[in-house]
Amino acid sequence: MSSLYLARNPRVAARSLDGEMMIMSGRDSTLFTLNKTATVLWQFADGATPLDQIVERRICSRFDVEPAEALQDAETLARELASREILQLSEEPILPRNPVAGEPR
């Protein structure tokens, strides 16, 4: 399977509330909250780290999950977040195009 890279969409607004991300879509101001796993994906979606590495280092080490299953779930989740324009996905590393690309807090 080829690597999948994720980057936070710089057009959204985001803040962590008690360990879970609140995200306001830049497209239509819809509010989302991400559960703890989705929050990890968001936090490490730097455009440079492939999804399998995020899952291996950040998800499997924290949550008690099977690596293969975790990767599949994470990919489904990443595609869902991308469809809502919260994440950007690519098979190549994603370079920040917008100089204002945000840092998660």
Binding site: L17, D18, M24, T33, G102
Partner: protein, 369 residues
Amino acid sequence: MSSLLEEVSAKALKLNIPLSVQLDLTYRCNERCVHCYLDHDDHGEMTTTEIKHLLDEMADAGVFILTLSGGEIFLRKDFFELLEHARRLMFCVKLKTNAVLIREREAARLRDLAVESIQVSIYSHRPEVHDAITLIPGSLQRSLNAIRFLKSQGLKVIIANVLMTQNMQDYPGVRALAEELGVECTLDPTVTPMMDGNRFTVNLGVDQSALRQVFRDASLVGDVNEFCAIPAKPSENELESTPCSAGHTACYVSPYGEVFPCVQFPLPTGNVRRQRFVDIWRYSIQMREVRSIRVKDLTTCTSCTHVSSCTRCPGLAYMEGNMRGPSSQDCEKSFARTGVPSANMLEKKRAGINLVQIRVLPNMARPAA
């Protein structure tokens, strides 16, 4: 409020997080609105560096919704630098402006920075009425041009229409204009007293009959009977609830770094030039006092028919002298809605009768000539 936003607000309330902050970048303004409650002279605004530092502190404290307002925000030469910084910190940024200084270039920049919404004050669809309120000839035309530039960039624009005697008859025209422009429109019948407590601006507000007209306009309130119904007795839960978001999940910071529970609640709680934002939020005695108040603690209001549906603003009550007391402007609104006088009105009336009796008694005691 969407149910998810309600859920998030409830969580922020429990965790004592200031979810939403209004930061006024300046009190300077290029309009001179007759009802404005601000002193427009610059008494030492925070510098670019101070504001960026404050934004960092606010992001760390958990602030999510950041409303940048003024005065007129575009008068700050560093406005876009500050906005860029705010967006880098991933705030959900809302702007309040008269939009007079927004042209194509500014609108495009706002789109690039993905601001959530831009609220523009429009007082009338007629230039002679709007410009007579802003005291700037041509201001309506410039604000409307700006709204078109913003819309053409796909930005969300909200027209804010403050109702006063001067523009009372024009709100249907403003709403039609908003529809034509494809933007939202809000209507606010409350005129805020001056920050120093001077209430002359309040006299520009609409009277009872105008309020009654607005509250019976189904296009504004929906089901008139329901909106104007006399409310049920408050439940235990309602009595235990907090009066509003001020000091609970929201606060206000002035251009001079002063922190208040709300833009309409000028109780000083600290200054970010001397203290960390989060320390003021968590530990200021005044903030904690505001936070401790429950509906059941309100004087007068707890015995009022309207308490469960009243829009009582604790900030306006504070400006009248008691943050636990009633706010006369909200009493007026409750009365206009239901036709039932508020506990505060009845108390004042009784006090009036007493005063007459006190004045009359000595004369009566005077021996007959």
